[in-house]
């Protein structure tokens, strides 16, 4: 078996607290073919042979608020503290492709994330941060191509070419229609924009993760674990098929696809979900799409603990919930992890709550000993059986989606949305009938006055951002901008790759909202079937 790069283990010896030696791997002499061994097809037991003995998962906490300066200051603070990966949260208007001064942005500028309207905002966001030395994750989907262009141009102005940029663009538009609901264009043109990006990144950005195929939001919207698994992988297949149809070689782009899963409450079911995901993807990539590179077969993934399990009642209990969820993610073999803050059912996380969340991962990493051996739960009768069962259930959904004409047709008829809404309502009814116990909500209740300090957002920041945008518009050459926007319109119509004209317009100073408007003029807008 060829290993791409055998990674060194951090310690010479691994031992329990009572000094019993711990081996790298436990299992039968002749491994079960279906389960395999860590680091080998079908990767049920994980994608690395040495796993956390060589490198812990990346602790990547999501941050972004206020103006680009505010978030830049937070980024620099995190980097000073030794963090090497950044994760950017954009505000709602940016996520939807609106400028901060659009009337619909009222009240939302810089509230849930950082506002980025222009190339200057992007430069400010990463000022003083050498972009060839950090990896940046950007949670952006509908207008992802525009934010990617701004990031490329910001790097260019630092003297860093796109070849050297490392990071991840969420760029998973399908789950927006299914669950997160922050879209810009209708599904079909969106898929075209994504294949344009795939083609560009495959050629120019070998270190960039092009799509983070996300189950997180599907789960938060109320799906079950099986639905999260199945719908997310189905989205992944749709991207692979779109890439192949656009003429790309599957082994050129599939290695840069990654995943983003939820870590919910049902401990073993969550672990089984990650394991089933790895096996299903590996099999499908190899056998159906003909991928030959091992890396194309691998599910590399980020995990975030489940925001929707956090309670507003007795919020401190959320620390315990997050800890168990984080442990499930680690036992499931995650490559990076965000742990939620205990106060998220009440407000955006305060600094203290965010610190406790990070410390929770550090306890799992350094104190529990679960990192000492690779896939410690592999071979458990219960877990392997649950893994098989989830795979079967997911396959059943794949057939259902195929019968409905594929992912996009199923989105357009509201199939996923209805499935998820039904699951969410059923869960709520079970909680209300006390068939499910939620500690502090329908059992062990207390009359309480919540006494934790919450983050307060300064609403004056909105005005700062509007002034900055006005000043930017006053300083640029409007004729140049108009020409550049016309080139985007033309590429939108003709089907030539959108990336070059968007990069050009970004350099000339077109704003996010202006570029989106031009594309919307060609692609149209989308209104979902409002089912409940």
């Amino acid at each position: 078996m060829s290993k791409m790069n055998k990674r060194r283990e951090e310690q010479e010896r691994y031992r329990t607290l009572s000094d019993i030696p711990v081996d790298r791997l436990y299992g039968p002499e002749k491994p079960d073919e279906k389960i395999g061994i860590p680091g080998s097809y079908p990767f049920t037991r994980g994608i690395h042979e040495t796993m956390y003995r060589s490198r812990l998962w990346t602790m990547r906490q999501f941050a972004g608020f206020g103006t680009p300066e505010d978030t830049n200051a937070r980024f620099r603070y995190l980097l000073q503290k030794g963090q090497t990966g950044l994760s950017t949260a954009f505000d709602m208007p940016t996520l939807m492709g609106y400028d901060s001064d659009d009337p619909i942005s009222l009240g939302e500028v810089g509230v849930e994330g950082v506002a980025v309207d222009t190339i200057e905002d992007m430069e400010t966001l990463f000022a003083g941060i050498p972009l060839d030395q950090v990896s940046t994750s950007m949670t952006i989907n509908g207008p992802a191509i525009l934010l990617l262009a701004m990031y490329i141009v910001a790097a260019e102005r630092q003297g860093v070419p796109p070849e050297k940029l490392r990071g991840t663009l969420q760029n998973d538009i399908l789950k927006e229609y299914i669950a997160q609901k922050e879209w810009v264009f209708p599904p079909r043109p969106s898929m075209r924009v994504i294949t344009d990006m795939l083609a560009y990144c495959t050629e120019h950005m070998p270190l960039w993760n092009t799509i983070s195929i996300s189950g997180y939001h599907i789960r938060e919207a109320g799906s079950t674990a099986v639905q999260e698994l199945a719908f997310t992988l189905a989205d992944g297949f749709a991207y692979v098929e779109a890439g192949i149809e656009a003429g790309l070689d599957v082994d050129d782009f599939a290695p840069r696809l990654s995943f983003f899963w939820n870590a919910h409450n049902d401990f073993f079911e969550e672990i089984a979900k990650y394991r089933a995901a790895r096996r299903i993807w590996a099999k499908r990539m190899k056998n159906v799409y003909g991928a030959k590179k091992e890396r194309s077969w691998m599910v590399r993934f980020h995990t975030q603990t489940a925001g929707c399990t956090l309670t507003a009642q007795q919020p401190e209990i959320n620390i315990a919930r997050v800890a168990y969820q984080a442990l499930a993610a680690v036992l499931g073999g995650t490559q990076s992890l965000h742990t939620n803050s205990m106060d998220e059912a009440l407000a955006l996380p305060s600094e203290k709550a965010a610190k406790i969340a990070l410390r929770t991962q550090q306890v799992v990493a350094h104190e529990t000993g679960v990192t000492n051996t690779v896939d410690p739960l592999g071979g458990s009768y219960f877990l392997e059986s649950l893994t098989d069962r989830m795979e079967e259930e997911a396959e059943r959904y794949f057939r259902e989606i195929d019968e409905r004409g594929g992912v996009i047709a199923a989105i357009e008829e509201g199939y996923f949305q209805k499935e998820i809404a039904d699951s969410a309502y059923q869960y709520q009814r079970e909680v209300e009938k006390e068939e499910r116990i939620v500690v502090g909500v329908n059992a062990y209740k207390e009359d309480e006055k919540i006494e934790i300090d919450l983050l307060h957002i300064d609403r004056e920041k909105q005005t700062d951002q509007l002034k900055r945008l006005q000043s930017f518009r006053a300083r640029r050459n409007n004729d140049e901008v108009d020409q550049a926007l016309a080139a985007i319109r033309k590429a939108s119509e003709t089907g030539e790759n959108l990336m070059p004209p968007i990069l050009d317009a970004t350099r000339k100073g077109a704003t996010l909202g202006e570029m989106v408007n031009v594309m919307r003029g060609v692609f149209g807008t989308y209104r979902e079937p409002a089912v409940f």
């Binding site: 059912a345 209300e432 919540i450």
Partner: protein
């Protein structure tokens, strides 16, 4: 009930979190109310126009984006501007206690937080609307 309570449940602004609003819509429907769901990404103007056209008793707004201090007062102002202060404006989402108190002082009805049983919302609406219709 002969004259069922009519509710417009809505999402205002750019916030796409629609799990709660759909659960509440289903629960109100199952409790015998007539429910109209606005769909996502509505402006306050759209919601108020629809509320008046549909002649609803209640406008129930879900906001999880943090924009509640801008959007609730705007909807209230538009309703009052049309002389429709008889319509109950209430809602839910992630709304800190302090903001909730401030909004309720302005005349917004109950704002329900995460974990609220839907039965509590149903009971609240039945009581409020009975009182308003009794006037």
């Amino acid at each position: 009930m002969d004259n069922p309570i009519r509710v417009l449940v809505g999402k205002v602004g750019l916030d796409g979190h629609d799990r709660g609003v759909k659960v509440v819509a289903s629960a109100l429907r199952d409790a015998g109310m007539e429910v109209i769901y606005s769909g996502l990404h509505q402006t306050p103007e759209n919601v108020v126009r629809a509320a008046i056209e549909e002649d609803v008793d209640v406008v129930a707004i879900s906001i999880l984006s943090g924009a509640h201090m801008t959007l609730f007062p705007r909807i209230l102002e538009l309703l009052n501007g049309k002389g429709r202060d008889d319509v109950l404006l209430c809602g839910g989402g992630i709304i800190p206690e302090k903001d909730r108190e401030e909004l309720m002082k302005l005349g917004v009805g109950n704002l329900f937080g995460p974990g609220t049983p839907t039965t509590e919302i149903v009971a609240y609406l039945e009581k409020e609307i009975a009182a308003r219709r009794g006037k």
